[in-house]
Symmetry: C2
Subunit: 232 residues, 2 copies
DNA sequence: CGTCGCGTTGAAATCCATCAAACGACGTGG
DNA sequence: CCACGTCGTTTGATGGATTTCAACGCGACG
């Protein structure tokens, strides 16, 4: 863990994150409230049950929002990409875990100060509302995908989504990328077991849709076929 | 379908809906922008793909937010209870269907006018943000429940949730209530088939946890047992 | 009275979870 | 450098839960 003042000038998400709604002076004031922090892969940013007194914007890397049920296995509820906002402004306790998937950087704020900023700057409230709406859409889309699709379809759709997320240009999947998730995490996200995920990835490789490079590298050999495999 | 001016004075959700954040004068101004509308069971309020130019607050009844996939069967993504807000302020097209489950009443606004109100009244933006955050929590909780739980657990948990929702006093389930959903809708919500839902309800009745009254009436005979059935 | 929609029940098939074992990558220590 | 253990992953065999296919019951409604 490390922590230092913010450097908005060089921030890679300065025009996409919630704070982009602020003008220069407002942003500087907000920046004084926050700290920049680096997270190692697997490091927990917030833990369910803890006092919910902080929130953050993801600057680089990837996070997961997850719960672990009574049997001890983890269910991933959402992936967070750069410019995403994490933290619940209205709950007394954190209800989910927020964990870094890869090496990540966040802007960390105390919740009280951030809430005060939301009251002071109405544009910030609207930006957060927009982001929350998108998160809601994302959560519902994931639910629509996971519910009543076969293991094959889930894995194929997930690989396509990751290819899109890995690409710089929107709407064009990356031809080759590294998965930010382990097999166990993929299983937790898709509602499957590790073995089933592994089998489906193997089957997709056998069918010629993808090729594996090492444990996490994926190459899209036949994106159209992968797209067909993702549909019911 | 019917439509008439709003009557906030007698509104059953006047202190819980988003507009409750406004003071008297502001609320009256907002009320002038909206129309009261009654929905019959099964009536569609918004349809996916349509221009997304309206939004609404639910006053009475129940709505579902749903998609229907390529095979034509419906996946329910969320239930909306009174005081809930529906509509997406930031998307050009509606992405999900919003349909009345039971006879319902809504306050309907044009999106443009509502967005203008959100800009004019910062408290309204914060109230919507709060509501959106809760919806997000609800969506994620549903996902956590549906993912990797058995059919028995899903049906039991659903019945408990409906008993809670049907009760006036919070946190005390109603001893007897009518399901607002058909078997097909329950199946769509829980990610199961109609037959499996039916079998599980039958099994819960055989085990003595509940009793059925007609097609939609449910009586909680042994709520503790039902609670145990809902856990893994 | 026949039909239609909705729900229940039964039998068979299928897909996935579970149990089990082996593999490769990696780091440690001999 | 190699033996060794660990961790994550892959692959195989088996069983079970749920889907699928099919039939029936029941009430509503024309």
């Amino acid at each position: 863990m490390s922590s230092s003042p913010l450097a908005c000038a060089s921030c890679p998400v300065r025009d996409r994150a919630a704070c982009a709604a602020l003008d220069e002076g407002e942003r500087e004031e907000l920046a004084r409230l926050g700290r920049h922090r680096v997270l190692a892969p697997g490091e927990t940013l917030f833990a369910a049950g803890e006092p919910n007194d902080r929130c953050a914007t993801l600057v680089r890397g990837a996070l997961k929002i997850a719960t672990t049920d009574v049997e001890g296995d983890e269910r991933i509820l959402s992936l967070v990409h750069p410019a995403g906002f994490v933290g619940e402004l209205f709950a007394p306790l954190a209800r989910f875990d927020v964990v870094a998937l890869t090496a990540s950087e966040v802007c960390l704020f105390t919740r009280a100060e951030y809430e005060a900023a939301v009251e002071r700057y109405p544009e910030l409230a609207r930006a957060l509302l927009r982001r929350s709406s998108e998160d809601l859409f994302g959560a519902r889309s994931l639910m629509a995908m996971v519910g009543r699709h076969s293991a094959r379809e889930r894995v194929a759709a997930f690989l396509l989504a990751m290819a899109d997320a890995a690409s710089d240009s929107p709407c064009h999947p990356a031809a080759r990328f590294d998965l930010p998730l382990s097999r166990a995490e993929m299983a937790g996200l898709l509602g499957l077991t590790i073995e089933t995920v592994s089998r489906q990835v193997s089957a997709l490789e056998r069918s010629g849709a993808i090729r594996r490079h090492g444990l996490r590298g994926i190459e899209l050999v036949d994106a159209a076929q992968l797209g067909r495999a993702a549909l019911p």
